[in-house]
Subunit: 201 residues, 2 copies
């Protein structure tokens, strides 16, 4: 079985979006596949008594500039959405619905589409109409997607993923687990690459 | 005049210690000199309403592991002090005393010595006797160093540096300013190096 890189993300997290753009290529270069986990940062922040960096006035301005610079550094297109952050539970429920009823690849395609829509075209994933339109543009059955995000079963699936993540010590996003080693943040890319290339260091 | 990299640090910050070990070589490679600023993270945290990452229980275990791994990644020796974090105002006042009455280079030598003492030999910079012994080992007049850290003039000098840093938007350490561009964190090294190599990106 191909060894994996586990990757936790929130659709409203700029650093998660950037990592989502490089993680597959990095994994493939080292014979790994990526196992994605859509979660809600609100849940992990609450459990860890943390807050978003942009909720601190002095840190906010730097953080907004750093999102864009970090994207440029990785060669990833980025446009800061005016409405930010946003609730992402519906987009995350679509992810798990596709993951469980379709395939992890279908869910990964949705993750890419939703991240790019929000962080390059300011498509508000929190707006039901915009989300349905994006689902349709992405080749999904928009009505079925809406039914999924309103379905208690997929609400529970996401809740359970949040709880599993918190129990595993995930306190932010993007978060990676490689051979049981935790890496937090888009800026741990170089350390992850060294780990994949040389093993534990 | 040689262009500079401004570098703010706190003697109790592991990531500041790691950065202190690479910043001169990176600067020299690009024809720059480093201008060091000893500050107190307690002051910047308070101004920005932030807290140390190790003050959050869930984040603490990861952070301690990440300090050591980030040091290994940079090839820097590291031993987590049991007593951590510690108050560092006396070590910082010695820095400014040397800076103003000796030279920035003398202060930089002290910064290196104090960081290495705390982060490789658990020498408690917060303990007056240990600090005097370290000053003597570093070729300083230990009694003069003690007099300096108790002198209202050097207390004021440090306080004023903290206030200047906060006014400039410094909210953590290590913090760098390169051509007016702010970079926060040891993990921004790669972005700083690209900036120095190619200019704004």
């Amino acid at each position: 079985m191909t060894p994996t890189i586990d990757f936790w993300f929130d659709f409203s997290s700029p650093y998660s979006y950037i990592a989502n753009e490089w993680v597959d290529a990095v994994a493939a270069r080292h014979g790994r596949t990526v196992r994605r986990h859509a979660i809600l940062l609100g849940a992990t922040f609450q459990a860890a008594e943390l807050k978003s960096p942009v909720s601190y006035p002095i840190k906010r301005e730097y953080s907004l500039a750093d999102f864009a610079r970090s994207a440029r550094f990785e060669g990833v297109p980025y446009l800061q959405p005016d409405t930010f952050p946003i609730p992402t539970q519906n987009a995350a429920r679509i992810f798990w619905w596709l993951h469980d009823t379709g395939s992890p690849d279908a869910a990964a395609d949705w993750a890419r589409a939703a991240f790019r829509a929000y962080f390059t075209r300011s498509v508000l994933l929190s707006d039901p109409d915009a989300l349905k339109a994006l689902a349709a543009d992405s080749g999904l059955d928009a009505a079925a997607a809406e039914a999924a995000w309103n379905d208690p079963a997929w609400k529970l699936r996401l809740k359970s993923e949040n709880e599993t993540a918190i129990a595993a010590g995930i306190f932010g996003a993007p978060f990676f687990m490689v051979d049981g080693e935790p890496f937090w943040g888009n800026d741990r890319r170089a350390q992850i690459e060294r780990w994949l290339a040389t093993g534990p260091f």
